[in-house]
């Protein structure tokens, strides 16, 4: 009863919610795309240069691993502020949808790269050896063996990363990032409109559920074991 009195549902303005949802989706979609490209690249290099792998390079691996660890240890909110100059350089702004995508990618790509590295490690070494015996080049092995064999793991990794991005985009609202997080912050927190907060959180929950379901479905579809 208390709850009912305190929450004024009339404050929820759907004409604000929908564009904010769209912004969040755009940020997740665009940053996921760049994250996957960049993270795959870093993850593959990490894997190949690690011990006993095709391009074993302890120095390269050590350096790259160090950078990845650093990026992963900085909290997202702080990372956003730290890389603002770079963001401005890349997109011309540090605000809104555009200004949020670079920090999202910088934060999520190292995370995804580790997931890629782990998935590639799961690939049966015997299959790699068989490909070598058949005369496959390293590039053939990456493209035709590793990426194929690790596909379920990579899809699961993309799903986890997408879900992580949802919470990152919400955090981005703190420094004017736009989207649902921004809405929750400005109306829900600063203007005490609890109803707006609840609706945005509900939207985020639905988003995460949908992403997870879609990801699980894809993983199942591509599993052959």
């Amino acid at each position: 009863m208390m709850l009912k009195q305190n929450i004024d549902w009339s404050q929820v303005r759907w004409e604000d919610i929908w564009p904010a949802t769209k912004d969040t989706l755009t940020m997740i979609g665009a940053s996921l795309l760049f994250t996957v490209i960049l993270g795959l690249l870093i993850g593959i290099i990490l894997f190949l240069t690690s011990r006993k792998q095709l391009l074993e390079q302890p120095v390269v691996y050590g350096l790259l691993s160090f950078v990845v660890n650093i990026l992963r240890s900085v909290p997202f909110v702080i990372l956003m502020i730290l890389i603002m100059p770079m963001t401005k350089l890349l997109t011309g702004t540090t605000l809104g949808v555009q200004g949020t995508i670079p920090p999202l990618v910088v934060a999520a790509a190292p995370f995804f790269a580790r997931l890629v590295e782990t998935s590639l490690r799961e690939v049966d070494k015997g299959v790699i050896e068989a490909a070598q015996a058949m005369g496959a080049s390293r590039w053939d092995i990456v493209r035709r063996v590793l990426l194929l064999e690790a596909r379920p793991g990579l899809l699961a990794g993309i799903t986890i990363t997408a879900v992580t991005l949802v919470s990152y985009t919400a955090m981005a609202g703190v420094i004017g990032g736009g989207g649902l997080g921004d809405l929750a912050l400005r109306y829900g927190y600063q203007r005490f409109q609890l109803s707006v907060m609840i609706v945005t959180v509900a939207m985020l929950i639905i988003l995460v559920q949908l992403l997870q379901m879609a990801g699980d479905h894809l993983v199942r579809r591509f599993s052959r074991k």
């Binding site: 049966d124 015997g126 299959v127 050896e129 068989a130 490909a131 070598q132 015996a133 058949m134 005369g135 496959a136 080049s137 053939d140 035709r144 063996v145 194929l148 064999e149 596909r151 379920p152 591509f222 052959r224 074991k225």
Partner: protein, 317 residues
């Protein structure tokens, strides 16, 4: 650490050569040296006229297409169908799509997997998986097929089916087969020559028949006893009154009534105490321990007659 050392081995074109050894003896390393999956620190590897140890990595990749390889655990792409697994080496060789399809169909037929072309490896039995492995290894018409414990993960019946497929391939396509195993049974079933490896070195080598019938090294004797009777007939020497004779024979005479013919005009009688009559690849052979009872002079004449027929005869000591 040296896994193999001082090994000089020449495999003849078209033969099935077996390398047998216990696990850790270095046989797997030796096999991997042939296609340089394992690069020897010193020495050369020559396949046909090409010295592989001299090639650049791109040249080596190309040369490896002439050397097929199959594995104990099959090593198939789990995410690709049977068809795509067999097509893999053809695609690496950049064969046009229609040629790939045609060749894959041929290979599916060769290994008897036409029905399973669109299945994934997880849906196949071990024997079927190895057939896919064989088809894949043969795709680029290699001159040599390397078999890394190819039957060790299979049950006995499937092992025999795969072995006869390998022998078929060897005969039909003239492919040289080099296999490693720890099972003497495999050597006996299909190999022409055998090398016994222990501690990274070859301790005995020769025609399977010779090595099998007259093993010299103790490791070889171990392996031979895997398929021989574990009973040692020498234990009988003190308990029997007649003469104990060991007889070995090889070839078509195996199936002739030689013993009967030799004794029928004499008063000598005989009892078989222990014996094996079998085949090594396509060659029949027999190993018997026989007790002859009768006059010593007469027994000697019987033995001479057997020797004259080409049997190897000697007193059991």
């Amino acid at each position: 650490m040296e896994a193999v050392k001082n090994i000089s081995l020449t495999i003849n074109k078209g033969e099935i050569f077996g390398i047998i050894g216990h696990s850790g003896a270095g046989k797997s390393t030796l096999l991997r040296c042939v296609n340089l999956l394992e690069r020897p620190t010193s020495g050369t590897v020559k396949v046909g006229e090409v010295e592989l140890t001299r090639l650049s990595s791109t040249q080596l990749q190309k040369e490896r297409r002439r050397i097929g390889m199959i594995f104990q655990h099959f090593n198939l792409l789990s995410m690709a169908t049977v068809r795509d697994n067999i097509a893999f080496p053809l695609e690496l060789a950049k064969l046009p799509r229609t040629a790939v399809k045609q060749r894959v169909d041929e290979l599916l037929k060769l290994v008897g997997l036409e029905q399973h072309a669109d299945k994934y490896p997880a849906q196949l039995s071990g024997g079927q998986k190895q057939r896919v492995g064989i088809a894949r290894a043969l795709a680029n018409n290699p001159d040599v097929l390397l078999c890394d414990e190819a039957t060790s993960a299979l049950d006995p019946q499937t092992t025999n089916a795969i072995l006869s497929l390998l022998m078929d391939i060897n005969q039909k396509l003239g492919i040289t087969i080099l296999l490693i195993t720890h099972e003497m049974h495999v050597i006996r079933a299909i190999c022409d020559r055998v090398a016994v490896i222990d501690g990274g070195e070859i301790v005995e080598m020769g025609d399977v028949l010779d090595v099998f019938l007259k093993p010299q090294h103790s490791i070889t004797k171990d392996f031979v006893s895997q398929i021989a009777d574990s009973f040692d007939p020498r234990e009988l020497i003190d308990t029997r009154s007649g003469r104990l004779i060991k007889i070995n024979y090889v070839g078509e005479i195996t199936y002739e009534p030689l013993l009967f013919n030799a004794v029928k005009s004499t008063s000598v009688q005989f009892t078989i105490l222990q014996g094996t009559v079998s085949r090594m690849k396509n060659t029949p052979y027999g190993q018997l321990v026989i007790e002859f009872i009768g006059d010593d002079g007469e027994i000697d004449r019987v033995l001479d007659e057997l020797r004259a027929k080409g049997l190897e005869v000697g007193d059991l000591k």
